[in-house]
Homo-oligomer: 335 residues x 2
DNA sequence: TGCCGCAATGTTAGCGGTAACGTTCTCGGA
DNA sequence: TCCGAGAACGTTACCGCTAACATTGCGGCA
């Protein structure tokens, strides 16, 4: 007994109904202008009537192209990446590609696992949100000969394409902005401490050292960021360094949490303590006082990544490149 | 000239290296206990050495199962759904399924498009985050004979499985909580006005009417929620109804934004105005004052959805059902 | 001794598409 | 009249994997 089909409508069903071969139907879907008007109309009608849904697995298997691209982000709940995702999604959808998203939970091992999974699914390209990967992951990506974009931070050794901003320069810039604003006893508070946060910390140190200021007021933890953690870290810092006059928080969540803690303590911001965040999330422009932050071009990063991937998928040659998308300092009420 | 292969390592390559047929290799991957120890070890070694990655498209095409499930959420940036996503993801991954996520932007037309896309990709099931769909989407889902879970709200007419909470009852509960706390001139502010928000609004009206209170203080807009919008809506409401003593915001983003606006106006919360939100996002427990809210079991909803999908994928019969996951009222400092 | 059963592996025939090449037919120009 | 070029459609052979069934070999038991 032959294996029975899944029961779904196939190209063959359309072909039989119209009285042509299934290649003609396939052609009609991919290059309509190569099929005569009359046949095309009848095929389109049959597709409509039978609710035909092409089987992409079969198509991909046969053509070697899946028309999908994987986007790996560290965390879905972190709104930082939802903007990147939007940019990527929009750009790729226009070109007819579907974005498949995975989240690594900030773990390069999990990233490796996902790269493996999505390679198994036959994606045509990858957008990663870091430049740090396991050796095995790098090997897999190199062997696959697919376009790969590493986003968010910049690196001197891109796997392929690199789109992001210099996190260290940005950290230095916000440090300098605080110094320019007159603050002298500036703290840093950081959570998670992934590579990007470390870079921001290094930039903050650069700025303070260049101005001859102490970099000792530095409170970090490997725990994941959250509003509450921002409050906790700030409390610990106020305890250790009561004279602190400003804090650069490694991201906006911590900064907002720190602000709430100040409100709880009836500590005037920026009168008694100035606060700065990083990323430019919506909340920084909504709180009272509004929060000074570094606005990162996340959407633009996503769009650029999509553009470069599409270019490559449409035949552009492999050409390792680095795209610095810059950043903006938004000086707001909190400093 | 025959079509050349993609150059990727295939089952055949492994088979040749080990000196067995490719079926044995395939079997070794799917049912290791059915292959002799010696052969198994040699196959595993070959897989390791050659960095073999199975081609899921081919596997899915042949077996009719893709080991993937689609999860459609309205918005990725809305942290409400990231918890659902985590629950779904965890549950499905354990069972060996990959979650493919799509976002509908709160549009049922876009949902329809995504259902079509993911059917083309051959997913084995769907988790939707609403009970509202286009007719065509419903037809597609019914015809596909796949397990489908509609989450978040409850419905009397589930497509298949329904896991959520009664949004109207929850809206009523928070209304009653405000009344019990002594508030009498209670407002409602809502954005987006999707079905769930409408239900919460109806619940709020139920509560107020039952207590003989006026339901006129109701400010809504179709615009999407944001912190800033919460501030804008509150401003408009204070203008129209200066005597208002409490506001139930349809979600936590609006509530937080309203709180920030109160701080800006030096309006004491809850002294001069009480605020309540909906969902129980992290921020509600971090602000000063902390925000009263309805805690929805989003993670549990996701986990339950995953459990029920897996059950069905493992052979349980179709059995339309409704699972009320309840909610909790968290009375905090803002009321 | 012969036969059965089972473990281990192989053979065959697809799954639903698409690339590459073949065939048919029409039509215009030398 | 004949030939050649396209347009329009068909045939064939895969893509890489797996379901279903076939085969082999060995041990145990009547």
């Amino acid at each position: 007994m032959p294996r029975r089909s899944t029961g779904r409508v196939t190209l063959q069903d359309i072909a039989e109904r119209v009285g042509v071969s299934k290649v003609t139907v396939s052609r009609c879907l991919r290059e309509p202008q190569r099929v005569s008007e009359t046949v095309r109309l009848r095929i389109e009608e049959a597709i409509e009537v039978l609710d035909y849904i092409p089987n992409r697995q079969a198509g991909a298997l046969s053509s070697g192209r899946s028309l999908s691209v994987a986007l790996l982000v560290p965390s879905i709940s972190n709104s930082v990446f939802s903007e990147v995702q939007r940019g990527v999604d929009e750009g790729l959808r226009e070109a007819g590609y579907q974005v498949l998203m995975g989240h690594t939970g900030y773990s390069i091992l999990e990233e490796e696992r996902l790269i493996d999974t999505f390679l198994a699914y036959g994606v045509d390209g990858f957008v990663l949100s870091s430049t740090r990967h396991t050796d095995h992951a790098q090997r897999l990506l190199n062997r696959a000969h697919l376009p790969v974009v590493e986003t968010m931070e910049l690196t001197d050794n891109p796997l392929d394409i690199n789109v992001g901003l210099d996190q260290r320069v940005a950290g230095r810039a916000i440090g300098e902005a605080l110094i320019t604003a007159g603050y002298r006893r500036i703290g840093f508070c950081g959570a998670r401490l992934d590579y990007r946060v470390q870079q921001r910390l290094a930039g903050w140190e650069d700025a303070l050292k260049a101005a001859g200021l102490s970099t000792q007021r530095c409170q970090t933890t490997p725990r994941p960021s959250s509003y509450r953690l921002g409050g906790e870290l700030l409390s610990a810092m106020l305890e250790r360094w009561p004279d602190m006059d400003a804090v650069f928080c490694c991201n906006d969540d911590l900064a907002a949490g720190a602000l709430f803690e100040c409100q709880r303590r009836r500590l005037d911001v920026p009168g008694q303590l100035a606060l700065a965040g990083f990323n430019g999330l919506d909340i920084t422009d909504a709180t009272w006082p509004t929060l000074t932050t570094v606005i990162t071009p996340r959407r633009a990063i996503g769009e650029q990544a999509a553009r470069l991937i599409v270019e490559r998928l449409q035949g552009a040659p492999r050409n390792p490149s680095r795209h610095d998308m810059g950043f903006d300092i938004a000086l707001r009420q909190s400093t």
